[in-house]
């Protein structure tokens, strides 16, 4: 009922800016719209160029910037990057099927994917640190490196396990559609995120001096 009342209020509120536009509309709406489009395109092109895109793509952004949005930046050096993309794309497609029902919302999937991507980035950072670390050094440094390697191995196995869980979820969605299983997909996603939260331990380890 509150939503209904809010609908009416919102509809009335929408009329106010419309009347303002009617009174003070600029003479050449088309020119303003075109300038706005080019302005956004220039900004998107600048961002793309900063992220490593070529000059041609940056210039093309002036006209076709909506088609260049939303591209996921490549995960640099992460060992699980492409597998994460593949797993979530296939799970999203499975959940999008009408037979799959609305068992999980986009927000839950995005949150899990973000956590997994973050964990993968940290793995990449640690791999870089380990690769650059000297093989001979003081004893405390060697001790820290040993602890870092152990934590890295643990984090990698946990991330792999969560990734396997995501792949299993896709199969379970199919089983649910076929046999009417009452798998709590949403709860499973929460479970996987909780498992990933243990990887914060690795982040704290890499931040310590």
């Amino acid at each position: 009922m509150f939503a209904a009342a809010a609908s009416l209020l919102g509809a009335s509120a929408l009329a106010a800016p419309a009347m303002l536009v009617a009174t003070f509309a600029p003479a050449d709406v088309g020119a303003v719209a075109a300038l706005g489009w080019l302005g956004v395109g220039a900004w998107v092109g600048h961002r793309l160029h900063r992220d490593g895109a070529g000059a041609g793509v940056s210039i093309a952004a002036l006209g076709v910037w909506p088609l260049l949005l939303g591209a996921r930046p490549a995960i640099e050096g992460g060992p699980l990057g492409r597998r994460i993309d593949a797993a979530f794309d296939s799970l999203t497609e499975a959940l999008a099927d009408p037979s799959a029902e609305q068992v999980a919302n986009h927000g839950e999937l995005s949150a899990l994917r973000s956590s997994l991507v973050e964990a993968d980035r940290r793995l990449a950072l640690v791999d870089t640190l380990l690769a650059e670390a000297p093989s001979d050094g003081p004893e405390d440094l060697r001790g820290s490196l040993t602890r870092l390697r152990a934590a890295r191995a643990h984090a990698a196995s946990e991330a792999e396990a969560v990734l396997s869980g995501v792949l299993q979820l896709r199969i379970q969605v199919g089983l649910r559609a076929l046999a009417g299983d009452t798998v709590e997909v949403s709860g499973r996603l929460t479970e996987l995120r909780a498992r990933l939260s243990a990887l914060d331990e690795l982040g704290q380890l890499t931040e310590s001096p």
Binding site: A60, V64, L67, G70, A71, A86, L95, D97, P98
Partner: protein, 247 residues
């Protein structure tokens, strides 16, 4: 990245490109759209020749891109009713792949079109053949875009996507005309906004069949200004003038 395997995949298995890194594919796809569409446009402009060739070559890529820009959000929203929506990243990649595929097919069809135009067909028939060629090349591209939309890919969804993008493409082509340009008309980069594509195509079809009807082209949309074409019924005008003199 080598472009040739991408171009081969565009023709053989465009679906495989949807799962690849879009950042690597983008330059190749954009270049394919621009180059393929410009080549097709140049051939179309060659019907009139002269300055019309670069004019059409510049406008043709816009004809390939603008309808997709306008219609993609609607396709995504319609496919997402009561189900998970496709990700923008995947849909944008599918749109670029689809347009590149259409542009590549159009470029490949250009020699056939050039051959037909080289025998100097009637202007109205040339327009209809151009419309048919565009539809033929655009269909596989539209199918690629539709394949990226989630959910059951029934014929209703495909038909809706085809109709929406087809109508937008038709009106965009009308907006950007002339591509072919009448042999006796003055060449212009763009004509003023007049009527709409449906009445225009109807008049062209009627004229191509031999009908000799007067067509009133009103200025359409937000910028309205009534304008009449020269009447073809000269005898009718003479009779009217005679009647007015005798009254």
């Amino acid at each position: 990245m080598n472009a040739l395997p991408v171009l081969a995949d565009l023709l053989r298995s465009p679906q495989s490109l949807l799962d690849r890194d879009s950042a690597e594919l983008r330059p190749i796809l954009l270049a394919t759209i621009a180059g393929g569409a410009a080549t097709f446009g140049a051939v179309v402009g060659a019907y009139r020749g002269g300055i019309q060739i670069p004019f059409a070559a510049i406008k043709m890529p816009v004809l390939f891109v603008l309808p997709v820009l306008l219609g993609l959000p609607a396709l995504r929203a319609l496919s997402a009713v009561d189900r998970q929506a496709a990700s923008w990243a995947r849909l944008n990649t599918a749109a670029l792949v689809g347009m590149a595929r259409a542009a590549l097919l159009a470029a490949a069809f250009s020699p056939v079109l050039w051959l037909y135009y080289s025998v100097n067909p009637d202007y109205h028939r040339a327009v209809l053949v151009l419309a048919g060629a565009l539809a033929l090349c655009a269909l596989p591209g539209l199918a690629t875009v539709a394949s990226a939309l989630p959910g059951r890919r029934g014929w209703q969804g495909g038909l809706a996507a085809l109709m929406l993008l087809g109508v937008l493409t038709a009106q965009t082509g009308w907006l950007l005309r002339p591509f072919i340009a009448r042999p006796t008309a003055e060449v212009a980069f763009l004509r003023p906004l007049e009527a709409d594509v449906f009445s225009g195509l109807g008049a062209t079809y009627g004229t191509a069949r031999g009908a000799d009807e007067k067509w009133e082209a009103e200025r359409g949309g937000m910028f309205r200004q009534k304008r009449e074409f020269l009447p073809t019924d000269v005898d009718g005008i003479r009779d009217d003038a005679t009647r007015q003199e005798t009254q």
